[in-house]
Assembly symmetry: C2
Homo-oligomer: 335 residues x 2
Amino acid sequence: MFKQKINIVDTTLRDGSHAVSHGFTVEQTEAIAGGLDKVGVDIIEISHGDGIAGSSINYGFSKTHEMELIKAAKNKMSSAKLAVLLLPGIGTIEDLEEGRENGAEVVRVATHYSEADVGIQHIEYAKKIGMMAVGFLMMAHMGTPEQIVEQARIFVESGADYINIADSAGYMTPDDVRARISLLKNSINIPIGFHAHNNLSLAVANSIAAVGEGATYIDASCRGLGAGAGNTQLEVLSAVLDRMGYNTGMDIYGAMDVAEDIVEPIMYRPQVIKTAPLMLGYAGVYSSFLLHTYKAAERFNLNPRDILVELGKRKMVGGQEDMIVDVAFALSQKK
Amino acid sequence: MFKQKINIVDTTLRDGSHAVSHGFTVEQTEAIAGGLDKVGVDIIEISHGDGIAGSSINYGFSKTHEMELIKAAKNKMSSAKLAVLLLPGIGTIEDLEEGRENGAEVVRVATHYSEADVGIQHIEYAKKIGMMAVGFLMMAHMGTPEQIVEQARIFVESGADYINIADSAGYMTPDDVRARISLLKNSINIPIGFHAHNNLSLAVANSIAAVGEGATYIDASCRGLGAGAGNTQLEVLSAVLDRMGYNTGMDIYGAMDVAEDIVEPIMYRPQVIKTAPLMLGYAGVYSSFLLHTYKAAERFNLNPRDILVELGKRKMVGGQEDMIVDVAFALSQKK
């Protein structure tokens, strides 16, 4: 039987960085990157949780400069490709150049699902300097499948090597994933990837739903280490894909050992689904809304969960935090 | 839009009993049962993890006699039905009678997926004394959909009110669930239920797959508290079903609060997917095999994970633990 090759993109050292308050050390990074390389992960993403140059008062300072971590990881890697995430507006072309000098071979250019155009120059530059370039669409649950295709095409035309759809709020059900990936598969002719969050406990299921529709790059992290409820649990995903007859090329027992012996001991807390991430996934909103929502709820004597659901319905995006008070006021009038 | 009613069966105080070494107190049971009743759970299952009369040197002693817990819970419940699990051979007709006297209105008679006949008398007796009776088929991944239907029919003919399929090892993928539930739905004319374990991080996904094929009773527990990797996380499931347009009749915010405020503080450890439960789910074998497997692996210098996978392939069942050495010997000869 022909087994479809699925590329595994590990994001323990990038999305997982959020879950350790950007506190990864050189030693930890070497152990994790070296371990993941050995078990056959295809791409290892390393940078501040908010992408290169994310270390700041706004997004949290990295304990160790990410370029040091990238260089250290690269030294321990022999087969996997090293990737960085870049959010235009946070990271720049200069940061990307520095990442490449330190060993990055792949850049994932991440924009809001409706703003691929702000990433065109970064994709084009990466291709010019010989890097693999990925167009990464965040909060993709907010866009219709047609809108996602339209934005993906912008990245395709810029020269992206594959398109990655991110369920950043952990909002999607498997049906939501299938609708987006299948239309993409029928509309563009470069590979498709998927990045899940586990807010609704559906990260592995959504990832296999994406694979079922033709996605061939799947993001995951050891023990699911990542923002909020975390990402797709790497060692579980590789076991499930193997059982379903896909070829990840991975040593699945080895992946279990990296997760249990190297990553688990350095985690700050287990990646369980508590109320806050569950509500964010249920409502489909940014985690940055939480604090503002609690304040507005107190001021207008509302249940903060009702405000989150209303923010999701209105498709509020990051940067619109000051409108939360208006939404809360409107809700309080309706009561 | 018509919203299909899905009945939620909470098993925090039964399957979750495994995860707290059968240590639930009267106070904890009152708080959990009372909380679940208030948020609109339909059935609350209470008994030793291995069913009524499970308290023993073999299965672990209960800290508090389950009949005391059942009576205490009943006092705090006003709308949910109280259920007990009964494994023929462990629990008897007399235990069932005692459970009913203390407040149980439902019995779930659980047998290995291929041995429904050992539960006939318990289903018939329960119906005779006016209880709701459920035929519960364990380790259902080991049977083909046709075999599951054949066994379910035995329970249907005995008078069961619904049939519950249990993925006891947490082995199934959503496709495995769909194959079994859809054939059952087309073959029997009483309601169908599903009980998941989260070994492959697919418990919520498998539960919604079951609902998609027509299952109307779904097991879940607060924070997923249950044996091994735990069960379907109740508060997540209720949020996902709501988002998908099903009617659980539940106060989903209230369920989040019961999980976070009442259950989480009494958990011994978070319900995360470590290597041992992952391997059991990947191989599809009983947790009782683990210790024997480690011993055999040491004796024959094998990787215990290879032995587990072989045991799964050979469809070994509980009680066959002494054959693990034979399997290990055969594997060592092949090497």
